[in-house]
């Protein structure tokens, strides 16, 4: 939440608070792109994630009524669901999706708001995102908002009342890593709400870098689900997020151009 190094943090005791609820894990993961729902559940459990995203789509009318349902396999009793507005290209579409999600989840108001602006890059349409947030906040939604790595936009979304701001690290599903660490660091420095990197992480080191910059958490999907071994990558990501968080609190040494010997010079015998 801020860049100050907290000396009193102990390993393993540093919860993420979202909407008044404390979570042990700072890794949020998606539920899509897996072979099947059972693999999704296994990967989620390997990742240690407690908050998981889902999408809202038309029910297949009359087709395979006995097909397993996401919420039956991965129960909302065991995880905090974060319904997303993926695929929405306007504020109105996103607003409708959030309302349906709340009805679907029996009044659960936590949503991930994303309004896309461009099919090729899936970059957010920030103007439409503001418009959707304004309406949804009046309807008492708790909004975790996907946005660009733009410190001004991030601050505005916080000031409007979004409970967490989630700048992209790189385009969704691109795996390009943290493309603009300086902006992410600035967003973190300015913020009074949790900042989570959402999108762009490719491998464990990317996750660690985001956490070392002071991000409060990371939301990822493709990096795990599309890895050759999703369960192993889920486990790697869990460790990377934890390691990055601890390194952030521990306080890295300053970068220097020249060496500083690790062993004492005193006592050399030659």
């Amino acid at each position: 939440m801020n860049s100050q190094i907290q000396q009193n943090i102990k390993p393993g005791k540093d919860p993420l608070t979202i909407a008044g609820v404390e979570y042990r894990s700072r890794l949020l993961v998606g539920t899509g792109k897996y072979q099947d729902l059972y693999q999704a559940k296994q990967a989620i459990d390997e990742s240690g994630a407690e908050i998981i995203t889902m999408a809202v789509r038309r029910t297949n009318i009359g087709q395979s009524p006995d097909e397993p349902n996401l919420l039956d396999i991965i129960s909302p009793d065991d995880y905090t669901y974060l319904p997303n507005t993926a695929g929405c290209y306007s504020a109105d579409e996103a607003i409708r999706t959030c309302r349906l999600a709340r009805e679907l989840l029996d009044g659960h108001s936590l949503v991930k708001l994303e309004v896309l602006g461009d099919e090729k890059t899936l970059f957010p349409d920030v103007a439409e995102t503001f418009r959707a947030a304004e309406v949804l906040l009046k309807e008492d939604f708790l909004i975790m908002v996907y946005t660009n790595d733009d410190p001004v936009a991030a601050k505005r979304l916080e000031e409007m009342g979004c409970i967490a701001v989630m700048p992209l690290a790189a385009p969704i599903g691109s795996g390009l890593g943290i493309r603009n660490p300086y902006n992410i660091a600035t967003i973190v420095e300015n913020a009074n709400v949790p900042i989570l990197v959402d999108a762009g992480v490719g491998t464990a080191s990317d996750a660690a870098i985001a956490m070392e910059l002071g991000c409060d958490g990371i939301l990822m999907q493709t990096a795990i689900a599309s890895a050759k071994n999703p369960l192993l990558m889920a486990s790697a990501m869990k460790k990377a997020v934890e390691a990055g968080r601890e390194a952030y609190h521990a306080g890295r040494i300053p970068r220097k151009r020249y060496a500083a010997a690790s062993s004492p010079v005193d006592g050399l015998f030659f």
């Binding site: 998606g30 809202v56 038309r58 029910t59 009318i61 349902n69 919420l71 349906l100 999600a101 679907l104």
Partner: protein, 66 residues
């Protein structure tokens, strides 16, 4: 009468309620949400919500996503 359900035309008996539609679709008791003409229809009101000719109905569920 004719309605549009999830983007496709469908015939339903006159004076059907949302409950009856859900029953016909074998979706009773399933986790789903409904909107009619872009307005949410809470599950608690399915019994009394009468469907009208030309209504555009969406029935959605949760699926995996990122």
């Amino acid at each position: 009468m004719e309605i549009t359900l999830n983007g496709e035309s469908r015939q339903v008996p006159d004076h059907s309620t949302a409950s009856q539609l859900v029953e016909t679709l074998c979706l009773a008791g399933k986790r789903m949400a409904m909107e009619i003409n872009e307005e949410i229809v809470p599950r608690s009101t399915f019994d009394e919500r009468v469907i009208r000719d030309g209504d555009k109905i969406e029935i959605v569920g949760a699926i995996g996503g990122g």
